[in-house]
């Protein structure tokens, strides 16, 4: 069941999964619906999603718990179901996982800004919110926790890393979301990939990295910069490009083949675990596996 960090330190390249939200939208999630409610209302969809990624060749999948914090679930009236929905998220992915494959519990942003960063959220409260979610994921049997799409390194991310480690002792993957502005790549709070990578390492994240926000070309630049500041394994989950509208439909432009073509550069840049974010699906994973392992899964 475990051995996640050992597998990485053995030098193995791990291939992760693709998007959760995109998959759920194609399988009945209404616009603005609560994705985590699917864990109890449509468990078969969540199990099938994990199974589809494993069948495509993923070595690991993430749980359907990105918005599983009390802050986010409360917006849908599910604030009192944090432990249940996170536990189910872990159990459903675990049930689909073949031996030797891993389940990472996903923790996304709370949507709140801490008081120390000019917002309203209390840091003690936010710490407790992450603890609660981490307990649920651990009860669901995850091998590690992936705290992702974060923008506030020294505040929200730091609290989440501490909460997960102190509550569960599980390995922590910590990935940030960068955006390209006029002066380069920054998080919303102003961290550069290099400064953030150093900070995450200092905080004790077992794996650092970046996900979402930018297309694969920019992500390669992020990985290069992060690699300069850390000796930790690097994970990246990359969007299928920047979405655009075609005939009223939202289209992610980067095909499985295009992304697979770039993946060797992502790995050369320093990534040890690669996968997809928004707009990617099992077909992307299949293309990554085929390109990086020279054959079908």
């Amino acid at each position: 069941m475990s051995g996640f960090l050992e597998r990485i330190s053995s030098g193995a390249l791990l291939i992760s999964d693709g998007a959760t939200g995109t998959y759920l939208q194609q399988n009945g999630l209404e616009p603005g619906g609560c994705p985590e409610a699917f864990n109890s209302d449509h468990p078969e969809v969540i199990r099938e999603m994990a199974a589809a990624y494993f069948a495509a060749g993923s070595d690991m999948v993430e749980t359907n718990s990105f918005g599983g914090s009390r802050y986010m679930l409360a917006k849908y009236g599910h604030g009192d179901r944090v432990e249940e929905l996170n536990r189910l998220a872990g159990e459903l992915a675990r049930a689909a996982a073949p031996d030797g494959c891993f389940v990472l519990g996903s923790i996304g942003p709370t949507g709140e800004i801490l008081a120390e960063k000019g917002g309203a959220a209390d840091d003690g409260e936010m710490y407790g919110v992450f603890q609660e979610q981490a307990r649920g994921l651990a009860a669901g049997g995850v091998d590690a926790v992936c705290i992702e799409t974060m923008s506030d390194v020294t505040g929200e991310m730091s609290l989440a890393i501490r909460a997960v480690k102190e509550t569960t002792g599980l390995p922590v993957v910590a990935t940030l979301c960068f955006d390209r502005g006029p002066r380069g790549l920054f998080t919303m709070m102003g961290d550069t990939p290099q400064s953030a990578s150093a900070a995450l390492t200092e905080m004790g994240a077992d794996v650092v990295g970046s996900n979402c926000g930018i297309a694969i070309g920019d992500m390669i630049e992020v990985i290069v910069a992060m690699r300069q500041a850390t000796d930790r394994p690097i994970l990246t989950h990359i969007n299928a490009g920047i979405p655009r509208i075609e005939a009223g439909e939202i289209v992610y432009p980067d095909s499985p083949e295009f992304m697979a073509d770039q993946m060797e550069r992502v790995i050369e840049a320093g990534a040890n675990l690669v996968g997809g974010c928004c707009g990617t699906g099992p077909e992307h994973v299949r293309a990554f596996v085929s390109r990086l392992r020279g054959g079908a899964a």
Binding site: G21, Q25, L29, E30, P31, G32, G33, M72, K75, G111, I113, K117, G118, G119, S151, G181, P182, R183, G184, F186, T187, M188, M189, G190, P243, R244, I245, G248, I250, C278
Partner: protein, 264 residues
């Protein structure tokens, strides 16, 4: 909106004040260091060089995010007889103008902007009652909200702060706002501008549906509609019939001014 690195119009060039004419060292330095576009430099030098020194102190407090100073200096300026409108325009709004540029250009980020916006608010609480008592109208009334199904409001809230910082009156409807709620708010507040945001690709189409609802309710011509949010593009804004798109909170203000016909 002016192009990046745009030319200085001739009329500004000939009447252009010098950086040294700005009677506040901090603001002089900030402007010199952070405002790189020629047109914006000329515009801000013009603005600050004509402002009274005690009002530039307020601007400096806002740029540094010192809300207690902003609060105190605003009260002092009003006590010594400076008009509320002048304190707002040449002090508070003038300060936020530089903050907006620093934010757009990645010199400062969300935490710093929030601190500046808080300082702005600390001054505005003294200005607003005076303005409304004397019947002075805001630049325009703007209805803001995230569209139906979208619960993500950080970007929208930044836009609201910058809009207020520029002198707009903003009615914040919050998150998950239906087309009917937008339409009702426009009618109730007699607003001329609507700003909608979405973070999710899945809720983004609800912007188009909201605009369609304005058409169906026969009120589309009563308002200008601007849209924004991470996945939103100018092309998408066009396709769904919005009047304008803003890429960030600073552009949101530029767009809002353009839509209501204010030059600066």
């Amino acid at each position: 909106m002016s192009e990046k690195g745009g030319k200085v119009p001739e009329f500004i060039r000939t009447t252009m004040a010098e950086l040294a004419d700005i009677p506040n060292e901090f603001i002089r330095n900030e402007l010199d260091e952070f405002v790189e576009r020629d047109d914006e430099r000329a515009e801000l030098i013009e603005l600050y060089s004509q402002s009274a020194p005690h009002l530039l102190e307020i601007g400096a407090a806002i740029i540094s995010g010192r809300n207690e100073d902003s609060d105190r200096l605003t009260v002092e300026a009003l006590q010594r007889g400076t008009g509320a409108l002048e304190v707002m325009d040449d002090g508070l709004i003038a300060g936020m103008a530089l903050v907006g540029i620093k934010f757009r250009e990645n010199f400062i980020f969300v935490p710093e902007v929030l601190a500046c916006a808080r300082a702005m608010k600390a001054g505005m609480v003294h200005i607003e009652p005076i303005l409304s008592a004397s019947g002075i109208e805001p630049l325009a009334k703007v209805i803001m909200g995230t569209v139906k199904g979208d619960l993500h409001d950080i970007g929208k809230n930044l836009c609201i702060m910058m809009l207020r910082g520029a002198g707009f009156e903003v009615i914040d409807l919050g998150v998950d706002i239906s087309a009917d709620e937008f339409i009702d708010a426009v009618e109730q507040h007699n607003a001329t501008l609507v700003g909608m945001s979405a973070l999710l690709t899945t809720t983004m189409p609800n912007m188009g549906r909201t605009i369609d609802a304005f058409i169906d309710a026969d009120v589309r011509d009563d308002v200008k509609i601007m849209v924004g949010g991470a996945p939103v593009t100018p092309e998408f804004a066009d396709e769904m019939g919005a009047d304008a798109y803003g890429d960030n909170a600073v552009e949101c203000v530029e767009v809002a001014k353009r839509l209501v016909g204010v030059s600066r």
